[in-house]
């Protein structure tokens, strides 16, 4: 007897379409934390760290763009919540503002916003891992997936 098709569709995509969002949002959090390390190196007078700081900012923004796609995937077809689809672009917006502040040497805002972004990115990653999905897939769903593959 095959599983109810409705249930299979509800559970089957959840696992695979949540994982990229989880991994990428975690990567974003790690990258932002690294930015604090590079900022510290700049203050310590380590030459080259400013360029690394700038390049990491650009790379993080690219990762964020991909994370937006992952957020969309976990919603459609992943059936995850809608909020990541808004939260990740919002973080990217803050990141763009942060880049502007950095290039403009507006350190009085750049540093506190950096702290805020790190906090928000860790909250985002934590929430991503608390989403329903992995570990809740039923054995039948597993079979279904293998069957498809």
């Amino acid at each position: 007897m095959s599983p109810d098709p409705q249930t299979a569709r509800a559970v089957r995509p959840a696992r695979w379409f949540h994982l990229p969002f989880r991994l990428l949002s975690s990567l974003v959090a790690v990258l932002y934390a690294l930015q604090a390390v590079f900022a510290g190196q700049i203050m310590a007078g380590t030459f080259g760290s400013l360029l690394v700081h700038q390049n990491t900012a650009a790379f993080t923004d690219m990762v964020l763009v991909v994370t937006i796609l992952a957020a969309v995937l976990q919603r459609w077809p992943g059936r995850g919540p809608l909020w990541p689809v808004a939260a990740v672009p919002a973080l990217l917006g803050l990141s763009a503002l942060q880049n502007y502040l950095g290039f403009s040497r507006l350190m009085t805002f750049h540093v506190p916003l950096g702290v805020l972004i790190i906090v928000l990115s860790f909250l985002l990653a934590r929430r991503a891992w608390l989403l329903p999905g992995a570990g809740q897939a039923t054995p039948s769903a597993e079979r279904e997936v293998s069957g498809v593959a």
Binding site: M43, T108, L116, L123, L130
Partner: protein, 518 residues
């Protein structure tokens, strides 16, 4: 679960709101500090601005000249000046005036300047921007003791180059036309000595510059801009630990970061005014402040926008003029600019303002534009030939970090963690070679290298700023900024200093040595 995440999203937004609330107090200081230092307030009522005429420091005639040399004589002495209208202020001056007399030399003609010291303290004279043999460069311990050989207490006389009463400084002047300036450079006490008035212009002219149709004569004006503060009795106020300037060096807190005055002097007069023709003028701008950075512009701007056409940097003409709406100058930097007052209607009041100032330090001076006048001058598209040094030209790369550190329980200013010592050599460059120095700083540090001219290669992760072009001897480094410069070592073998030109930082140890090798 979705309820929880929504709540946590709200919590995140709440955190953002708290962040925003914290940010509100920051708004007042949004751009941070434009200068490193603390404001020292005057204790008397400050005059209205633009009352007194802008003086031009007198040119000093040589006492004699021969085929190759001009001989000058200067007496350093205590005197009284009228810096504020109707107020008598005791100063230390070259020939008793502030700024000191302007010396004018021609490229290739040696200048020998005899300095006689009648001040109560030792002095050292440095020609800033000069390509000068080491024994005449004003090394900080090469003291010229007062006439009669007074007190040397508080000094480390580790130098054989100490003289009593008077001495000659020899300047070969084998260098391009430029706006140089001379000022005191005694170890530990440069800042208060310059504050009291020991600074003046020394211009170099040459044929190349003379051939250009630039404004000259009355329409060429050197402007020494300096902030100062005054005590209630009209004397110059300065927070020295020992005001005799013979004992403990340095300043009291909170002025260790630099002393910022609340009166803007131009050529020794507070907020002066100048009547100008409706014609082009050449202004040689010098930031003579101990610590204050300036962002100068004309208010109102001329009809076509960019009021300041830069033709020269610290060390002479640019290759091509650069038009600026505003110019940022750190201590000791010079900008040679052309202003066309013909762009204004007759009768217009044009104020030279300092965007970095606040309150009384916004206004610097005022020009009253007269009727249009005959003007044969112009600014050529090509001014000079300035070879651009390349990264690959550098044979040696050195890293230098300028920052505040604890030294023996006191906060001091260091280079690579070292306070100044005449015995510690940071670099031994070979003459004829180019070096790349990577400079990093914690606060604002205008870094000045003696003897060797340099070009700015990069600032942050980009190229030079709009104000970094041309040959320079001082570079403005902002907080946590990294700047690369390419230095061409030429001239004379020997020991020279490089240092922060925030004079309080310099006195509090932010100086190092390099020794050029033949």
């Amino acid at each position: 679960m979705p309820e929880l995440t929504r709540r946590s999203l709200l919590a995140s937004l709440g955190i953002s709101a708290v962040g925003a609330a914290l940010g509100v107090p920051l708004l007042a200081g949004a751009r941070g500090s434009s200068s490193t230092g603390a404001l020292l307030r005057s204790q008397l009522r400050l005059p209205d601005p633009f009352q007194r005429a802008l003086p031009r420091p007198p040119e000093l005639d040589p006492v004699r000249s021969d085929g190759a040399t001009d001989y000058f004589e200067i007496t350093q002495k205590e005197s009284v000046a009228e810096l504020l209208p109707g107020v008598r202020t005791a100063i230390w001056g070259y020939n008793g005036i502030f700024p000191g007399p302007t010396l004018v030399s021609r490229r290739g003609r040696r200048a020998v300047v005899n300095h006689r010291n009648t001040l109560p303290v030792p002095v050292v004279v440095h020609l800033h921007g000069g390509r000068t043999p080491p024994e005449h460069d004003g090394y900080p311990t090469d003291l010229l003791l007062p006439v009669g050989g007074a007190a040397t207490n508080g000094h480390h006389v580790g130098s054989h180059n100490v003289t009593v009463g008077e001495r000659d400084y020899h300047y070969p002047m084998e260098q391009r036309a430029a706006t140089l300036w001379y000022h005191d450079h005694r170890m530990d006490f440069t800042a208060p000595a310059v504050w009291r008035g020991l600074a003046g212009f020394h211009l170099i002219r040459d044929d190349e510059e003379d051939r250009l149709p630039l404004p000259r004569g009355d329409r060429e004006i050197p402007l020494l801009i300096a902030d100062r503060s005054f005590a209630a009795d009209g004397s110059l106020r300065y927070p020295s630990i020992d005001s005799s300037l013979t004992g403990a060096p340095g300043v009291n807190d909170p002025y260790r970061g630099g002393v910022l005055g609340d009166v803007m002097l131009v050529n020794g007069v507070a907020w002066p005014r100048a009547e100008v023709d409706g014609a082009r003028y050449r202004l040689r701008l010098l930031n003579g402040c101990n610590a204050r950075r300036l962002r100068l512009k004309l208010d109102p701007a001329p009809k076509d926008g960019s009021g300041l056409t830069q033709i020269g940097s610290d060390l002479g003409l640019l290759e091509r003029p650069i038009r600026h709406e505003a110019i940022e100058l750190a201590s000791a930097e010079r900008y040679d600019v052309i202003v066309d007052f013909g762009q204004y209607d007759p009768g217009t009041d044009v104020t030279l303002v300092n965007d970095f100032g606040a309150g009384r330090t916004v206004d610097v001076m005022r020009f009253r534009v007269g009727g249009s006048a005959r003007d044969d001058s112009r600014v050529p598209d090509t001014l000079s030939q300035v070879p651009i040094l390349q990264r690959a030209d550098a044979t040696v790369t050195r890293d230098l970090v300028f920052r505040s550190e604890e030294i023996e329980g006191m906060t001091g200013w260091t280079i690579n963690g070292e306070p100044f010592s005449p015995d510690h050599i940071h670099a031994r460059p070979r003459l004829g070679q180019t070096e790349r120095w990577r400079l990093a700083s914690d606060f604002h540090h205008p870094i000045h290298v003696h003897l060797a001219p340099f070009q700015v290669l990069s600032r942050g992760t980009g190229g030079p700023s709009a104000w970094d072009h041309g040959w320079k001897d001082t570079v403005d480094i902002r907080p946590f900024e990294h700047v690369e410069i390419l230095i061409r070592f030429e001239g004379y073998a020997g020991k020279y200093v490089f240092h922060c030109h925030n004079l309080e930082h310099e006195d509090m140890m932010m100086m190092g040595n390099f020794e050029t090798l033949a």
